[in-house]
């Protein structure tokens, strides 16, 4: 009975995780295709299997393109072959023309060549086609038994590659970060339509601050950091302003933030002087976006850290408890001594701040302050929060759920792109899936009806 009770809560609170997993599996199945490995690991395996099957007494030419990844591939291949005792007559890094010349040279030297070892891409060059090889064999006896060796292909979903998954996270990080602030606002039974516009405002403020006050081209890392701080501060103040209007004058948040949305968008265009983008000449503007930590882009790291911090704040601090209480029953919260006004203002300020951060990331990504940044993002952000299981009625919702919600939307978009669905159809499918997700959420709450909350309550649990 006890266990059953907790499983029910788990299902309600974290059921969306299963939806995400199911989506990933589905898209994986749909994107399975032949993968042609080009990494050093595959090169070493190819070398080993070549020596094993053809013996050590072989002469091999290693062929690849000039890219850094191909160089690593070719090096690994050469080392592997030499370790196995095979004779590497040379490494040709180049294109079909240079390869033809190299082969002709080897033919003229009349040294027996048994294999060209390469990857799938280069193996398809015309010079290596069987017809071309027959022609060359007739000219040069040394090339009579020339064969092509390449790593074997295997079937694997293109969705499920490290590159693609990191790409999804990186692309959706700004929306996910804004969704943190939005989750707080929605838990208090509010809404914030201004986040997309505030994101643009932050981007433009950053750009104009750097260009007009911090020396433009000469602006260094600290100057840029200062501009970022100014932009985020402006957005936090804008959020705070919305919070004050909501609490002091009891104007519905929808209306307040609708107004702020238009004001912020307009200000962005005014500051940008009507241009499509304010160019930033400072070189290190892109550092934030392009830097990485252990191979993971910094904005993903930032996003994950923020989600963890928000989770802790919402579950383990008085502020978090107050946010849930204000959303659940504002009157009861006030009569319980919760500083309702301060909590609401703080929540809108945090939401503004998170939009500011998203704007800063946008500037760093594009290197320009775009007044058009974040258009319609407010809707995607709200969708992520709602799909993540937060009720628009307030009082309930989970930061972790929002993370899952943002991922679900990102994964759907990525999957549709991969499946080659055009953008109009994407919109229809996207909208439908949001409805279905929320419907499932509602249904499961009705069907499962949890009677307890998932929280560690010490020894008291043993009741």
């Amino acid at each position: 009975m006890m266990k059953n009770k907790y499983i029910r809560v788990l299902l309600v609170d974290y059921g969306m995780v299963f939806v995400l997993i199911a989506l990933c599996l589905l898209i994986s199945l749909l994107t399975i295709s032949d993968m042609q490995p080009e990494d050093p690991g595959a090169a070493r395996k190819l070398a080993a299997s070549l020596v094993k099957e053809a013996g050590a007494d072989i002469n091999v030419l290693v062929v690849a393109r000039t890219t850094a990844a191909d160089k690593a591939f070719a090096n690994a291949l050469r080392e592997g072959l030499e370790q196995g005792g095979a004779h590497v007559v040379g490494v040709e890094l180049g294109d079909p023309t240079s390869l033809r010349k190299r082969l002709e040279l080897l033919g003229q030297q009349d040294e027996r060549l048994d294999f060209v070892a390469t990857h799938d891409f280069s193996s398809k060059w015309r010079v290596l086609s069987s017809q071309s090889r027959v022609e060359m064999a007739s000219l040069y006896p040394a090339l009579k038994n020339l064969k092509i060796a390449k790593p074997p292909s295997y079937r694997w979903p293109t969705f499920l590659t490290a590159n693609n998954l990191i790409g999804i996270l990186n692309q959706n990080a700004p929306i996910a970060i804004m969704a943190i602030g939005m989750t707080l606002v929605i838990i208090t039974a509010g809404i914030d339509l201004s986040v997309g516009s505030l994101m643009a405002l932050a981007a433009v403020v950053t750009a104009t601050t750097i260009q007009s006050y911090l020396g433009g081209k000469e602006a260094g890392g600290w100057d840029i950091a200062a501009a970022f701080a100014v932009a985020m501060g402006v957005c936090a103040l804008a959020g705070m302003f919305a919070g004050v209007i909501v609490t002091a004058f009891k104007v519905p948040p929808f209306v307040v933030t609708l107004g702020l949305m238009m004001i912020a968008r307009g200000m962005s265009y005014i500051l940008a002087g009507g241009a499509d983008a304010v160019k930033i000449e400072a070189e290190s503007i892109g550092t934030l976006y392009s830097s990485s930590f252990l191979g993971i882009p910094s904005q993903i790291v930032l996003m994950v850290l923020l989600f963890i911090a928000a989770h802790v704040v919402m579950n383990h601090t008085a502020f978090g408890r107050y946010v849930y209480a204000v959303g659940g029953n504002e009157t009861a919260a006030r009569l319980s001594g919760v500083p309702v006004v301060a909590v609401l203002i703080a929540v809108y300020a945090i939401c503004g701040l998170s939009a500011g951060l998203a704007g800063v990331l946008d500037v760093s990504h594009f290197g320009t302050g775009r007044p058009k940044a974040g258009e319609f993002y407010e809707l995607q952000v709200i969708a992520a929060v709602v799909v993540g299981g937060t009720s628009l009625m307030g009082g309930e919702g989970k930061i972790f759920g929002t993370f899952i919600g943002a991922l679900i939307l990102g994964v759907i978009q990525n999957g549709l792109n991969m499946a080659g669905v055009d953008s109009y159809r994407q919109m229809v499918i996207y909208g439908t899936l949001i409805l279905v997700a929320v419907l499932i959420d509602q249904l499961k709450k009705k069907v499962i009806k949890p009677t307890v909350k998932l929280a560690k309550t010490g020894e008291f649990d043993s009741f």
Binding site: M1, V312, H316, T317, A318, R321, Y322, Y324, A325, G328, N329, T331, A332, A333, R334, L335, S336, G337, V338, P339, G395, E396, K449, P450, T451, V452, K453, L454, A455, K456, T457, G458, E459, F460, D461, F463
Partner: protein, 512 residues
């Protein structure tokens, strides 16, 4: 049998309503098992039972909210299915739920006739409706402006609109769930008249109440449920109050109110000249350590408004509040709590608890500073503190993580009390502490109030139940139209004395 003209006519007439062996289970709970109910035309059947006994489930079956898992429902001998609220109305059942089903933005008239329009595009005959609404209110004996918006009506008036709404549907069977809970004694008298009138017109009334004197006044027969079981149905003349209570709680209660004498100490709270608009005018009183001060008065007399000023929920226009010799300026509830003044609101669900949070989270809400460790809440500390109160107040919960909404009224009240006790409240204000709470739990709340007083706290209790005020208070403050009508030492005071003050008769005031 021949001269048995009015009551006891059950045997030879066909029952209006017959529920036979109805059962209903919810996941994990057997809410009702094999319950039999018969209702005859022109009788009042009182339905009694503690909270959770299954009364609501039984009513919701009649209202088309739940369908029975087993058993049959017959109306006028015809077996019928009541699957929807509309089906229930068409079958001639009118239900007045405890939680109002009124739409705040519509007028009384529109609410009364809502759902009876002939079609979505039919013309609403406004003046006709208005006339009909006025007639209904006349029958109830409470004049309500048919065109007043429901959100502007008092709780009592809204209740009257609910009753009028059921009457407007010309129901044969009227079910009233705690209809008097929010009414003043005078309005309750009006309600009795209505019920009598319905009975005279041959309508069958199922009347649910926790107030035994109402039951004694109104009921022809009494049906008792306990834990989903049908304990029995008796003729009202044949049972005593003690027997009824015993049937309900399954044990005998010797007394409705705990009887004890507490030492009363120094004056702790002094309120002088407290005013706010017309609702509260120049209200002064004091409360001593170990004393329970009862505040009586009609609905709208300004009792709740007065204590809201004490608690900082509203701002006073004038007046001073002194606690233990210190003059307090109270700007907000947060501020009041910090100074040791706490309020248990009359509307537990709307104002006392955040229903979606767990009981422990509700408990912790005003007490965060006690459980802070380096900025984070220690849920372990919070849990320990709460567990102590669960023990002390005998709160029935499955654990600290139980969602507040799923608790019974009495236990919800105890959770609210626990959160103030943790705050070390010195002045504890109870606003209608036992409204909607069953008999057994009521007694426990009384004991707790006595215990708190014995600890030297100053207790203020607002109650519309005069026996409760008389049974518990050391002194009684009576309010009338925003003013203090009198303050009586609770010795040889009768309900009549209180009523006279509450209704504004001057002679008693001068006699004191």
């Amino acid at each position: 049998m021949a001269d048995d003209s009015n009551s006891g006519n059950s045997d030879n007439r066909q029952p209006l309503l017959e529920m036979a062996n109805v059962s209903k289970s919810f996941p994990g709970v057997r809410a009702l098992s094999d319950v039999n109910l018969e209702l005859y035309p022109g009788e009042v059947l009182a339905l009694l039972g503690e909270n959770g006994a299954g009364k609501s489930t039984l009513i919701k079956m009649l209202g088309g909210v739940h369908s029975p898992d087993a058993g049959t429902i017959k109306i006028n001998g015809q077996e019928i299915r009541i699957d929807t609220p509309t089906a229930s109305q068409q079958a001639g059942v009118g239900i007045i739920y405890q939680e109002f089903n009124l739409i705040p933005a519509l007028s009384a008239r529109e609410n009364i006739f809502l759902g009876q329009e002939k079609g979505a595009l039919s013309w609403v005959a406004r003046s006709q409706e208005e006339e009909a609404a006025r007639e209904l209110f006349d029958r109830i004996g409470v004049p309500v402006d048919p065109n007043a918006l429901c959100r502007d009506l008092t709780v009592a008036q809204q209740q009257v609109v609910e009753i009028a709404k059921a009457l407007a549907q010309s129901a044969q069977i009227v079910v009233m769930d705690e209809p008097s809970a929010a009414l003043t004694p005078r309005e309750v008298e009006g309600l009795y008249a209505i019920v009598d009138e319905l009975r005279r017109q041959g309508i069958g009334v199922i009347y649910i109440s926790h107030r035994l004197n109402e039951i004694e006044r109104l009921a022809d027969r009494i049906m008792v449920l306990r834990d989903g079981q049908h304990v029995g149905t008796r003729n009202a003349q044949d049972v005593t109050r003690d027997e009824i209570i015993e049937m309900m709680v399954g044990r005998s209660l010797d007394n409705e109110f705990p009887d004890e004498i507490r030492p009363v100490g120094e004056t702790r709270l002094v309120v002088e000249g407290l005013s706010r608009g017309a609702a509260v005018q120049d209200v002064s009183f004091d409360v001593r350590a170990g004393e329970i001060l009862g505040i009586a008065g009609l609905v709208g007399a300004g009792r709740t408004e007065t204590v809201r000023l004490l608690f900082g929920a509203d701002k006073p226009d004038a007046g001073s509040i002194t606690l233990d010799g210190r003059t307090l300026t109270i700007r907000s509830p947060r501020h009041a709590i910090a100074q040791g003044i706490c309020l248990l609101t009359e509307d537990r669900k709307g104002q006392g608890l955040v229903l979606g949070l767990s009981v422990q989270e509700n408990f912790g809400l005003p007490n965060m500073q006690d459980f802070k460790r380096a900025g984070f809440i220690s849920k372990r500390d919070e849990s320990k503190a709460f567990a102590r109160f669960v023990d002390q107040l005998k709160i029935k919960v499955t654990g600290g993580n139980q969602i507040a909404e799923t608790l019974s009224g009495g236990n919800q009240q105890k959770v609210v009390l626990a959160k103030w006790l943790q705050r070390n409240a010195e002045v504890i204000i109870f606003d209608e502490p036992t409204r909607g709470i069953d008999v057994g739990a009521k007694y426990e709340i009384y004991l707790l109030m006595n215990e708190l007083a014995r600890q030297g706290k100053a207790i203020i209790m607002i109650s519309s139940e005069l026996p409760e005020v008389l049974g518990l208070s050391d002194r009684i403050l009576v309010m009338h139209e925003g003013r203090v009508a009198g303050c009586l030492d609770n010795e040889n005071v009768t309900q009549e004395d209180l009523m006279r003050l509450a209704t504004g008769s001057k002679e008693v005031v001068s006699a004191q």
